[in-house]
């Protein structure tokens, strides 16, 4: 590559990188400056926290944050347990109808939760779980994708380790807990990161099954806030948007490599 061409590439690449950050930078600008500087780009514009305080005071974001944490933790940890059990059965046991059952599990990859949300809404209402956090989690706990990726990983565990554990007197659950899970931690981390960001970003289903501040998650809270405040300053909405996304952006900054690797190995959002 000649020097000139390389320089063109570098400049082009940085421009594209900058362009990609621009929407977010613009929102940050609006959020940290007084309203009269919203569209006046003066480097010496005074900074302010007012927009954040204003947004924080207008909606129970702390409650939304707590609800989101509970929802995401509940979902991901339940997925770990339920999917690991099923994956273990598919990876290490022979039993009648095994392929049929595996096919039934994989069907979930075809029937996205979004297309059956009317029926799931009725089920949640029937179970008396409307407007609760478990209602948001339940449809996602048995994840075909989780079962699939964990099964692939469990299959790579040498069978000799099972036998060794059996000789030591371990039962099935102990073998899963002390042999398979420790050896599959990277897959759990990858699947966990993908699941956390999926659920942190989930909107449609939480919107439908929650209707009070006690159970609303951040995304729904933010949407309600932005729609109700349609007449209000952009600066406030930008500040609220940044507050909602700050935990994700921070986590991504710290765990950038793990995030990218997780998404590419599990290949699903």
């Amino acid at each position: 590559m000649t020097g000139n061409l390389k320089n063109v590439n570098v400049i082009g690449a940085w421009l594209l990188g900058f362009l990609w950050l621009l929407p977010l930078l613009y929102a940050i600008w609006a959020a940290i400056h007084p309203i009269e500087y919203q569209v006046r780009f003066d480097i010496f514009a005074p900074l302010t926290f007012f927009n954040f305080k204003n947004a924080w005071a207008q909606a129970p974001f702390a409650q939304y944050m707590l609800n989101t944490l509970i929802y995401v933790t509940l979902t991901t940890s339940s997925q770990f347990v339920v999917c690991a059990l099923a994956a273990f059965a598919f990876a290490r046991f022979e039993f009648p109808l095994k392929n049929v059952l595996f096919g039934l599990v994989l069907i979930q990859l075809l029937i996205h939760p979004e297309v059956v949300l009317i029926e799931n809404y009725k089920t949640i209402r029937f179970l008396g779980l409307m407007d609760t956090i478990p209602a948001i989690s339940l449809p996602y706990i048995a994840s075909a994708f989780g079962i699939f990726v964990l099964r692939q990983t469990f299959k790579t565990v040498p069978k000799a380790l099972d036998d060794a554990a059996l000789i030591d007197g371990a039962n099935t659950l102990q073998i899963l807990r002390h042999v398979y899970i420790p050896l599959s931690l990277p897959t759990f981390v990858a699947y966990g990161l993908v699941s956390i960001s999926y659920h942190w970003n989930n909107y449609l289903w939480p919107l439908i099954v929650t209707n009070s501040d006690e159970s609303r998650v951040l995304n729904v809270g933010l949407a309600v806030f932005s729609m109700e405040e349609a007449g209000v300053e952009w600066a406030t909405i930008s500040a609220a948007t940044l507050m909602v996304t700050a935990p994700l952006i921070t986590a991504f900054l710290i765990f950038q490599r793990q995030f990218i690797e997780s998404f590419s190995t599990t290949g699903i959002k």
Binding site: W20, L21, L101, L110, I118, T123, T172, A223
Partner: protein
């Protein structure tokens, strides 16, 4: 999962020398599977079958139970001009966002995979939209597009261009949504290309380089054929996403003006939870189930290959 749990039937599934009944032998895997099976039946299989069944009935209203209507809901769907408009929007949305974001993703992956200075910055910047919620992304872009005040108009005014109203005008609103989607998805697809590019043996390219091949020839003759499976894989995911990722519509346009930016799932949501015309929304669900299943069968096929050959 407590360590102390010790279920008798779990004791020795591998101990083939122990005589045991079939029941005892097959109980452990079925116990392990039972939570998943119960949940999947409750939230996937039964709802899907019930959705198809209910699509032949009318919406129950108050005391009046639903009546068998045969194919009437589907006939309504076919006769509904909004349905066709929304389906058309969704097709345009898919056939513009998918190729555009795949091409941009490939460029991004090449840049991040090269020896350019500032690669961590590029990787961060390209991938960041992927971790942001689409609702928040919608808010950010709404400000970007704001007539007169948004950055687009600010930049336009530097060149003496008139103010735009991208989201307010029927002709341009869908393109506004397409832009957001490309911004959001490209970084996600980039990481698959990145993995694929890193899997290409270095000596292949070096050999071609020594033979005097140009960069374009190397890309065209070596890189592109080797990443074709990745392109296929991404196309399938992208097609599904084009039909189920609609959250930005909620914060940006609510499908308007006059349904010009509405996508299928958004229209379904509106029929089901705004107009409460459940029967009609259910017929649309069936349409989506069939459509996404066809695409998804392709996905499973590709996913299986990916896992085996990587």
């Amino acid at each position: 999962m407590k360590q102390t749990v010790s279920l008798a039937p779990f004791a020795s599934p591998f101990a083939g020398h122990v005589e045991m009944s079939k029941f005892r032998k097959f109980l452990p895997p079925f116990l392990l599977l039972s939570p998943s099976i119960v949940l999947l039946l409750t939230f996937v299989h039964i709802p899907a079958i019930h959705t198809i069944y209910l699509s032949f009935f009318s919406t129950p209203k108050g005391r009046r139970p639903s009546k068998f209507k045969g194919l009437e809901n589907y006939q309504d769907m076919i006769a509904d001009p909004v349905f066709w408009k929304v389906l058309g929007n969704n097709v345009i949305y898919a056939i513009t966002t998918i190729p555009a974001s795949i091409i941009i993703a490939l460029i991004m992956a090449q840049l991040v995979n090269s020896a350019l200075p500032g690669r961590p910055f590029l990787r961060f910047s390209f991938f960041l939209p992927v971790v942001l919620p689409l609702i928040a992304v919608g808010n950010i872009w709404l400000f970007f597009y704001l007539p007169g005040f948004g950055l687009i108009d600010q930049i336009g005014s530097l060149f003496g261009l008139p103010n735009t109203n991208i989201l307010g005008s029927s002709e341009t609103v869908l393109w506004g949504i397409v832009g957001v989607s490309i911004w959001k998805e490209s970084g996600f697809y980039m990481i698959f290309f990145l993995a694929a590019l890193q899997g290409i043996p270095r000596d292949l390219k070096e050999a071609a380089y020594i033979e005097g091949a140009s960069n374009w020839q190397i890309f065209r003759r070596i890189t592109l054929p080797l990443i074709t499976p990745t392109i296929l894989f991404i196309s399938v995911i992208a097609t599904i996403n084009a039909f189920i990722r609609i959250e930005h519509l909620f914060s940006m346009t609510q499908g308007g003006p006059n349904y010009n930016s509405a996508l299928l799932l958004y229209y379904l949501y509106e029929n089901a939870f705004v107009f409460w015309d459940t029967a009609y929304a259910i017929a649309q669900s069936v349409f989506l189930i069939v459509l996404l299943s066809i695409i998804g069968i392709g996905q499973i096929f590709l996913m299986d290959r990916r896992v085996h050959y990587q």
